[in-house]
């Protein structure tokens, strides 16, 4: 933020104020969307009376452990790719030293960081998984039939910050500052879009599993996994 005030440019804008705006939209957006769904669900009289914590947890556990559901056992490759993809996608940016440095710069807080070599592997893994998912989307007929422009867009938006971050770190392809600028902006776009696009499955996952898990476990006495 201070850098931007001292030296206003697109670079400092994207490095400072836009980050805060992106985070603000991200968090406020998520809270707004959850609140909206929770309120709408009240209108559907049949959601809340049947919710059960036990079966919500049963459902979520079975879907967060690889191969704990019949569906995942039927799709072994897709399961491993998506699990690795999501784990690297979430943990790499949080525990990346370069990101933690930025938090330290603004708020004087820091936490454990990934060694650079592991962070690099994880970044490349995200990119590799995204490519595999993209190939699957294009060549598997049932998935291709379902896919729309938005699905390809979501995948690209998710992986772009990883590609640009990696290129910037090793000063490849473009000038360091320009690549970093693209990295900032793509990351900010991703954060802003999460609450309002299909990337919202990040938080809606828990809500749907609560409903379906309770419905299957407490009401229908069968398994949803």
């Amino acid at each position: 933020m201070e850098q931007f005030l001292k030296d206003p440019s697109i670079y400092t804008l994207a490095r400072g104020p836009l980050v805060w705006i992106a985070f603000l939209v991200f968090f406020v957006g998520i809270f707004y969307r959850i609140w909206e769904v929770v309120k709408l669900a009240k209108k559907e009289r049949i959601i809340y009376p049947y919710l059960s914590l036990k079966y919500t947890l049963r459902s979520i556990t079975h879907w967060l452990i690889p191969y704990a559901s019949i569906s995942m056992r039927r799709h072994p490759w897709f399961t491993i790719i998506t699990f690795v993809f999501h784990i690297c996608l979430i943990f790499t940016p949080i525990f990346l030293l370069a990101h933690i440095e930025l938090w330290y710069e603004s708020w004087k807080i820091r936490w454990w960081s990934l060694p650079q070599s592991i962070a690099d592997v994880m970044t490349l893994t995200v990119i590799l998984c995204a490519i595999l998912l993209l190939i699957r989307r294009v060549i598997q007929p049932d998935v291709r039939f379902l896919s729309t422009k938005g699905d390809y867009f979501a995948l690209i938006i998710t992986v772009l910050p990883f590609i640009t971050g990696f290129l910037a770190h090793y000063e490849l392809l473009l000038d360091y500052k320009i690549m970093l600028l693209i990295h900032f902006i793509s990351g900010e776009i991703m954060l802003i879009l999460i609450p309002f696009t299909r990337l919202s499955h990040m938080f809606l996952f828990w809500l749907i599993r609560a409903h379906t898990g309770s419905e299957f476990g407490a009401v229908r006495r069968s398994r949803d996994y």
Binding site: E44, I70, D142, F145, R223
Partner: protein, 445 residues
């Protein structure tokens, strides 16, 4: 590999769909869509549509997809894409041709078995989305004629067959006479107050399949159950309105069942082996009427037989020796976890059980449920094609008898048996129990 995938189907004529579409206006379509998607549906519709990541995990869970050699237009999510997503992307401005396609997908290519829900990483209730499409079609009046006729019958008579009240009483009388040729002083009490059990019958048990009602009466008499059947309309437990998603008629029928039970002051309602009726009576109907649970216990045939055998109220004289396999009806197993009880009963009745794979709550639908068999002859080939995987499952067991504790599964598998030449007999639990149970000498006529 990259060819365009399109919706190709053989032409089928159904007057309930084709003729109705000639008489309705664009306005009717718009009104129905608005009512269902804007007023009746809310959180679930919104969240399910927005969350689906088009991952295709549900695809090979569906027997219709497996029965059509991997035609992607039969995949569960693809059916939602071609109906709900299509309506939403066109903002409700859909043509009559579109409605015809939606009706075909929703009524004849999905059994609402909910197996795909078990395969979705998010737990998106695809069957609910398809039932919304049926609801829209129903409000317009575009419903397969055979289903619609039964719904109209339910509206007026509360049974599925246009049976009049006096015909029901008359039927019970002659059935009692028949019963007495085998059971000394056998009784079918009608409208008895304060009984333990109110037995509701399947509509067909009063007309074409009276043997089932007599068999049930035998079990009731031998087990010395204090039971009765209704003396008024509301004796038929079926609710075909479920298939059309005619919620108002569902409400009317289910209310009549519970009111009859409360008027006769019975302890509980027992029904025979039927899937959709049980499901409607404890979920859809009850929820439509604004109750969380049924006001008095509503017991399915499988639960009832389980109790009778467990408590020794009926004794088994000899076990069946031929290899048998078990069909798990979606509406009582995936919807109510009766798989274990069902297996307990079958173990008591039969010596040689060969299970299907997958089984229990992961079992495939018989492809006749959810109204597909009720859609009648025009759509028979649709369910025969969709039932291919079920036929293979049965053939792989090598069983000679398939036990199907559901009217729909029973008839559906009989048709698969004929078409795929499986060489099996399809039986209700009721048939087998009566075959193997002990009838005390003093009770024999």
């Amino acid at each position: 590999m990259f060819g365009k995938i399109s919706f190709n189907r053989k032409q089928v004529t159904d007057i309930g769909i084709d003729k109705t579409l000639e008489t309705i206006s664009q306005e009717d379509i718009k009104k129905a869509i608005e009512r269902v998607l804007k007023k009746e549906a809310s959180a679930r519709l919104k969240v399910f549509v927005e969350t689906c990541m088009r991952c295709g995990m549900c695809t090979n869970s569906c027997h219709h997809y497996l029965g059509h050699e991997g035609d992607p237009t039969y995949a569960p999510a693809a059916k939602v894409k071609q109906t709900i997503w299509d309506i939403l992307s066109k903002k409700g401005n859909v043509s009559k041709e579109d409605i015809k396609k939606y009706a075909r997908i929703a009524f004849t290519e999905c059994n609402l078995c909910r197996r795909c829900v078990q395969f979705c990483p998010f737990g998106i209730d695809i069957a609910y989305l398809i039932s919304l499409v049926r609801r829209i079609c129903c409000l317009i009046g575009v419903v397969p004629q055979y289903i619609y006729d039964q719904v109209l019958s339910h509206m007026q008579t509360t049974n599925m067959l246009w049976f009049r009240q006096d015909e029901w009483l008359d039927t019970i009388q002659w059935l009692e006479d028949e019963l007495r040729t085998e059971i000394k002083n056998g009784k079918i009490p009608v409208g008895k107050k304060d009984a333990e059990v109110l037995y509701l019958a399947h509509g067909l048990e009063a007309k074409y399949m009276t043997g089932l009602l007599i068999n049930m009466a035998k079990i009731m008499n031998v087990a010395k159950i204090d039971w009765t059947v209704p003396d008024t309309d509301g004796w038929d437990y079926t609710v075909k309105a479920l298939y059309a998603q005619d919620l108002e008629t569902i409400g009317k029928v289910i209310r009549t069942h519970y009111e009859t039970a409360l008027r006769l002051n019975v302890k509980r309602i027992v029904i025979g082996e039927c899937g959709h009726a049980f499901r409607t009576a404890i979920y859809e109907g009850v929820r439509y009427l604004g109750w969380k649970e049924p006001p008095i216990p509503y017991i399915h045939g499988v639960q009832f037989f389980y109790e009778l055998i467990r408590d020794g109220k009926i004794k088994i004289a000899k076990k069946i020796k031929e290899p048998v396999t078990i069909q798990d009806p979606c509406n009582i197993v995936r919807y109510r976890g009766m798989g274990k009880m069902l297996r307990y009963i079958v173990r008591e009745l039969c010596e040689n059980i060969v299970e299907m794979t997958p089984k229990d709550d992961h079992n495939y639908c018989c492809s006749a449920g959810g109204g597909m068999i009720d859609a009648g002859p025009p759509w028979k080939s649709a369910r025969i094609e969709g039932g291919k995987v079920k036929a293979e499952q049965i053939r792989d067991t090598g069983a000679k008898i398939v036990i199907a504790p559901c009217h729909t599964c029973h008839k559906g598998i009989e048709d698969l048996n004929d078409y795929y030449k499986l060489g099996v007999h399809v039986k209700f639990l009721l048939d087998i129990i009566v075959e193997v149970m002990e009838i005390p000498e003093e009770m024999r006529a």
